[in-house]
Symmetry: C2
Subunit: 194 residues, 2 copies
């Protein structure tokens, strides 16, 4: 018969991260404990330490993964002629689809914010956000405004602060909100300058 729990887990790192996502999605980042995650994953309570060093180390890994995914998402949305509105909609979609990651990413007190991998991922995502709105009179202000509006919408949506009669599709409302910012610019183009 096969043993129920082989000595080596296989991919404990991945499993712990996934469990962390579950906990955070349901109860928020402050509910995370290494011992609980170990329990969920069926491993001794000291197991996770091997992969993350620390509780903060685990959350660092989660935040890094989040910034990486966000960068990929934004890049994909901007490729092939995506407008700023597409990029903004992608930002909102990321935030609601990866709520746990999103929440941790913007709580730097929870992780090792000087971790090199993390910072690289952060920079990558930030560059993609800046790049989207180059054809405005004041592009720096426009970039901050653009980031603010999608970030704000995503945050308000995720915390349940928004009125419920906005419907149940955050992606489409998010897109409308992003489009509203550039309602004057015919076409609202951005992203690709080739």
């Amino acid at each position: 018969m096969t043993p129920e729990r082989p000595y080596h887990h296989g991919d404990l790192r991945r499993a712990v991260l996934t469990a962390a996502v579950d906990v955070i999605t349901e109860h928020g980042p402050s509910a995370v404990s290494l011992r609980d995650l170990a329990r969920r994953v069926g491993v001794s309570h000291a197991g996770p330490v091997h992969h993350f060093r620390d509780k903060a180390g685990l959350l660092t890994a989660l935040a890094t993964e989040g910034f990486d995914t966000l960068a990929e998402t934004l890049a994909a949305a901007g490729d092939g002629g995506g407008t700023y509105v597409d990029v903004g909609a992608a930002y909102v979609a990321f935030a609601v689809d990866h709520r746990a990651h999103f929440e941790v990413m913007f709580r730097p007190d929870l992780y090792h914010s000087d971790d090199p991998d993390l910072r690289a991922a952060q920079r990558r995502a930030a560059a993609l956000l800046q790049g989207g709105v180059t054809d405005e009179p004041d592009p720096r202000l426009a970039a901050v405004a653009a980031w603010s509006i999608v970030h704000g919408f995503a945050t308000l949506w995720n915390t349940g602060a928004l009125s419920r009669d906005l419907g149940d599709d955050p992606r489409s409302v998010g897109r409308e909100v992003a489009a509203f910012l550039f309602r004057g610019d015919a076409g609202a183009r951005g992203g690709d300058d080739r």
Copy 2:
């Protein structure tokens, strides 16, 4: 000689709330503990329980206070012909001036979100946010966009996510960002319809 610690504190409730603000401002809401606050205030560890019932009760009080102050701030900004931009700037100012309150207010998992006083304060603040942008083609969308952009900016600023070369005056940048949203509307008037 006067006793160092009179038996009755005088205003323990107020003192605990203030101490909580200090802790949250410095270390975030998850660092709050009733015992620590009691220690800071110079009172037995069970003292605060008398006034708040609960740890969540304490945070409920803090959030309520926050929504009340926000409502006052927004009302003051809208009075006497304040434009939406004024109201938006006031929102940002509140968020950076009362960072601790602001942070707790949008973490409903931390408090008793069905508390009647809390909900009343929430409704008051929400109404003032809705009312600011009545002269847009789609006022509901405009209201969500307006709330999103100032909320997003404030959140990004408070978490330190924004680039440092925006300067050190969140209020004025916040105002610019809010103004950017309505850059097409000459005058960008709102708030008073008298």
